[in-house]
């Protein structure tokens, strides 16, 4: 779950100091540019640019690899598929596009604190007020989602361990039922905690 939370690498680079909103807009622009670049040469230049940005951020090779690691099976498959249906140039272009887009998005998370990102989203969501949605609640929903991922993952690990201990590893039911019950219980407890902390004031 490291790719969802806790990837922020503290630092003092230009990228770290840049406002979250600027970075998100930059990401949008860069993503669009990647789609418009049509030749392998142009994308190779883009790859160098992305690598340079990583160097500027100074997050280290391990953190950089962790961003594109999830693509390590998908990218070769995509490349092979494109090679069959298109040609070498097309395969290089499409694969690089995907890898670079993911790398750039990763760079934004690596250099932006969750808090800052959420505050930025809350501001961006402010117009939602006009259609009757509370921006605070929307951003709370996002925060709670981020917070719940590791909790539910931990729950799944515990259920799996209990299954192993009892020798019923293969049963989907023995996994799903306690997981769902546990998740519902967690939801109840979370609701109670939110009340206790004054959410419904």
């Amino acid at each position: 779950m490291r790719h969802l939370t806790g990837v922020y690498v503290p630092g003092d680079s230009v990228l770290h100091r840049m406002p979250a909103g600027a970075k998100l807009l930059g990401l949008l622009a860069a993503g669009t540019a990647l789609l418009l670049l049509g030749s392998p040469v142009a994308l190779a230049v883009a790859a160098v640019a992305v690598a340079a940005l990583y160097a500027v951020a100074g997050v280290g090779a391990a953190a950089a690899w962790a961003q594109i690691r999830p693509l390590r099976w998908f990218a070769p498959l995509l490349f092979a598929f494109q090679l069959v249906v298109a040609d070498l140039s097309g395969a290089v272009t499409v694969t690089l596009r995907v890898v670079l887009a993911v790398a750039l998005a990763g760079l934004v998370t690596l250099t932006t604190r969750t808090t800052v990102m959420l505050a930025c989203l809350e501001r961006a969501l402010a117009p939602a007020r006009y259609v009757g949605l509370d921006p605070f609640r929307l951003s709370l929903l996002l925060s709670l989602t981020l917070r719940s991922v590791p909790v539910i993952a931990g729950l799944a690990t515990r259920v799996r361990e209990a299954q192993k201990a009892r020798g019923v590893e293969r049963s989907l039911r023995a996994f799903a039922v306690p997981l769902v019950v546990g998740a519902l219980r967690y939801a109840d407890a979370l609701g109670e905690a939110l009340s206790a902390r004054g959410l419904d004031d």
């Binding site: 407890a189 206790a196 004031d201």
Partner: protein
Amino acid sequence: MIEFTDVHLRLGERDVLCGVTARLTERRVGVIGANGSGKSTLARLINGLALPTSGTVTVDGLDTRRHAARIRRRVGFVFTDPDAQIVMPTVAEDVAFSLRRRGVPKAEIDRRVQEVLTRYGLAEHADRPAHHLSGGEKQLLALCSVLALEPEIIVMDEPTTLLDLRHSRRIAALVRELPQQVVVVTHDLPLLADFDRVLVLDQGKIVADADPATAIGHYRALLS
């Protein structure tokens, strides 16, 4: 001051509390009892997370039935499982959460968050994800998030049950130093040693109400 007047609470077919009357004015109040004796419910009644079926619960004269929101501003609640209580992804953010809700200005929030995290030794973890903390640190964070709001009363529901000895002692030491009135529901009997008053619950009733040594003696006799 917390006051229970002839409180009955029924959940489905089960009487969880039957006729609890007590006035809690002491600074350190402990509540003990077997599993299912109603002690967690008693704690939840104090800040209106649970409401009595009949009878009344008041905090500083305010009825929990009508003034739950106002009471929750005065009463901080610490749960057994900090995972359920920590609602934000990172440490500093979780402490800031309740303050933001109160409309405290941003600079003041940052100052108070920093102050409380420093005081309880979590400052270096400020930007870490909450799930990277150990169980003991999580409970400490849960307590910090409550203390940042500067409540007048703190209710803790088995705060040390999931902790190792070192962290239990740490929490016990913190409880001793808190300037607020503290009500602790617990199975951790040594935690109550220097409390002012301990209630023993059994099957929804208060069966003993005395100083820690006497009350704990009664509790041991009850279970043997």
